[in-house]
Amino acid sequence: MERAEIERLRWRCTRRGMLEVDMVLGRFLEDAFGRLSESEQRAFIELADYDDMALWRLISARDECEDARLASIVAMLRGCR
């Protein structure tokens, strides 16, 4: 990804409505995103577009991810500390 794209993604991950989501997405971007395959990166970007509440319910395991393409990323986010 180009610098501008990464920077935009960083902004969209760390300027959320909820602190919980800021922190998890921010950490994931720093620690894990660079190691993902291209399709996994696309899946993460798609997830980052979810509403804060929906995303937080997925991350805190109150909802299960029903989209098989995104489930592995959700599992990684749950393990992201």
């Binding site: 610098r3 794209e5 960083r10 300027r15 409505g17 909820m18 509403d51």
Partner: protein, 594 residues
């Protein structure tokens, strides 16, 4: 270099609850309205408000706006302006009904009316017993509000400028607000929004503290811009703290955990709340628990390598009970504290949650400065609503569910006042020649600087200074040192350097600009807190204790007044609390006790 100019009737800065609500008034009246936001509107921090919105609908039991008003005045520890409080409590029903019309999915009771639940501090019959007053949409009230109001704005043709950062307020030579400068993040382009009315709805600024429940977005941009333009900031010493935020993260652990039997412990494994509140123990009120925790930490009984937190212990509870009665708590603890609470206690600290002060306004949403006679003088063309504003309804302490009400009522009244002021189609006033200069100079200085201070370092310094000197329990010596320290930190902020100089999507530049806003809020808070030599509501000083002469440390003879901090010279002025409501009798002063 010429700067593009976009012309609107009204410009709203911030697209959370207050901004969206005021934009509805303006756009539906046919005004050409722009809303600027750092993020997509439904990602504003309003989304984090779960509890509900207070309104005396009386759907489940008898209720009255006068009872709500009484509770709010008492909650404010009598610092709230009673005209604003009457206005808000009376208007509550109307703004909730508006929301219904916008399609807000409130929970319902069997007869189809809105379901209401009880909430701390909301009582019937002037403080007699709890009343069901909070209207909610499950645990996603803020989320549902944002969605309903965003859609309504789209329908009304409000123009959204998403991922734009407002930079500075533009005033003409006569002191009339005529617009705002802003930067599009995608291009780095600076643009002037030339307007007949500017409404600030930029939210809170809890990121001044090291430990805060606020999302990263809450950097006090509106307060910074107002302060630089010479507008004072009101009652900034009053911050509400929540006792149990995860240490180092800020994420909230709900009070329900203590309700289910969670116990607070210090480094000696003592259940210290037994000493501070022998009856209620860990279930004492928020401020009592927060102060006890701070005292334990200050006296060296904190936990961890830096002895800077205490422990919330639920290991004695059955794991099944934790999973069933406290959903999500185990996951929050594992994710943010690295601790499984079934096996080990959770590190917690009192955590900054809500800013009671802000840009001074009257109940009609118009921004007011202090006149020569000590009264309010309107700043023409300038309006503010929501957490960034101080109407003042929360005074020294906010009641739960009054924050969503505040942003609805004053969002609407700010919009209505702008409409009224623009009646008759007054032309745009001329922009001053130097309209974009202040913003341009700030950005150029950051871009040009070499060998300066990093944004990260400066932010850490602000957060540390505020947390250590102006936290939940305040001490004269620490406040005194804190003032000197925050002025030193200000020098760091004046010397910010960014490595990345690119124009497109330069988040480092945006963060530097946010930091310049944070420091204004931090100075206002520290200096106002040092100056107020009493305890009241959320501002509790060790040297203003509970005595027969001054119950709870509150000193109405000297301190029944609002603070106004001015950026120039760090001056603090005062103005009287408006004790006279609009139509009813004053809620007379008395000791606040529950």
């Amino acid at each position: 270099m010429s700067v593009p100019i976009l012309k609107f009737d009204a410009v709203v800065v911030g697209a959370g609850g207050a901004g969206l609500r005021s934009a509805i008034q303006l756009s539906e009246a046919g005004l050409k309205t722009a809303v600027l936001s750092k993020v997509f509107p439904t990602r504003s921090h309003t989304v984090a408000a779960q509890g509900g919105v207070a309104a005396s609908l009386g759907n489940s039991e008898e209720d009255h706006w006068r009872w709500h008003m009484y509770d709010t005045v008492k909650g404010s520890d009598w610092l709230g302006d009673q005209d604003s409080i009457e206005y808000m409590c009376k208007k509550a029903v109307e703004v909730v009904v508006d929301l219904e019309h916008y399609g807000m999915p409130f929970d319902r009771i069997d007869n189809g009316k809105i379901y209401q639940r009880p909430f701390g501090g909301h009582m019937s019959n002037f403080g007699e017993k709890p009343v069901r007053r909070a209207c909610a949409a499950a645990d996603r009230t803020g989320h549902a509000m944002l969605h309903a109001m965003y859609q309504r704005n789209v329908k009304a043709n409000t123009q959204f400028f998403v991922e734009w950062m407002a930079l500075d307020l533009i005033l003409d030579a006569e002191g009339v607000v005529v617009g705002v400068s802003a930067m599009e993040m995608e291009t780095g382009q600076i643009v002037i929004f030339h307007a007949r009315a500017v409404i600030f709805a930029t939210g809170g600024s809890g990121r001044i503290f090291a430990f805060s429940t606020n999302a990263f977005i809450n950097t006090g941009d509106g307060l910074g811009m107002a302060a630089r333009a010479g507008v004072p900031l009101e009652d900034m010493e009053f911050w509400q703290f929540h006792p149990t935020g995860v240490a180092g993260a800020g994420v909230l652990i709900t009070e329900g955990v203590r309700g289910e039997g969670g116990i607070l412990r210090n480094a000696k494994n003592e259940r210290f709340m037994e000493r501070y509140a022998p009856n209620a123990k860990d279930l004492a009120s928020r401020d009592v628990v927060s102060r006890a925790m701070t005292t334990e930490i200050k006296e060296g009984r904190g936990c961890g390598p830096n002895k800077d937190y205490v422990l919330l212990d639920i290991t004695q509870l059955e794991p099944e009970k934790i999973m069933k009665r406290l959903p999500g708590i185990r996951e929050i603890s594992i994710q943010f504290a690295g601790v499984d609470p079934i096996k080990a206690p959770i590190p917690v600290v009192p955590t900054a949650h809500y800013q009671m002060g802000g840009i001074p306004t009257s109940y009609d949403g118009r921004v007011v400065a202090l006149g020569a006679d000590g009264g309010n003088v309107v700043v023409p063309g300038f309006y503010a609503a929501g957490e960034c504003a101080c109407a003042s309804v929360h005074g020294a302490n906010r009641l739960g569910t009054n924050s969503l009400l505040d942003l609805l009522v004053f969002g609407k009244s700010a919009g209505d006042s702008a409409l009224e002021d623009l009646k008759g189609g007054k032309a745009h006033r001329e922009l001053p020649k130097d309209a974009a200069d202040r913003a341009r100079e700030r950005i150029d200085a950051i871009d040009r600087r070499r060998g300066g201070v990093s944004v990260h370092e400066a932010r850490q310094a602000i957060a540390r200074a505020m947390q250590d000197h102006a936290g939940v329990f305040r001490f004269a010596d620490l406040l005194h040192k804190g003032v000197a320290q925050i002025l030193e930190v200000e020098k760091m902020v004046r010397n910010l350097e960014i490595k990345d100089k690119s124009l497109v999507w330069n988040t480092a530049r945006v963060e530097a600009l946010e930091t310049e806003n944070l420091i204004e809020v931090a100075k206002a808070t520290m200096i106002s807190a040092e100056a107020r030599k009493e305890s009241r509501g959320a501002h509790v000083r060790d040297d203003a204790p509970d005595t027969p002469e001054f119950p709870n440390g509150r000193n109405d003879k000297e301190w029944l007044k609002h603070s106004l901090w001015y950026r120039e010279g760090n001056r603090v002025a005062y103005k009287p609390v408006r004790l006279k409501p609009l139509t009813v009798e004053t809620v007379a002063l008395k000791t606040r006790s529950y």
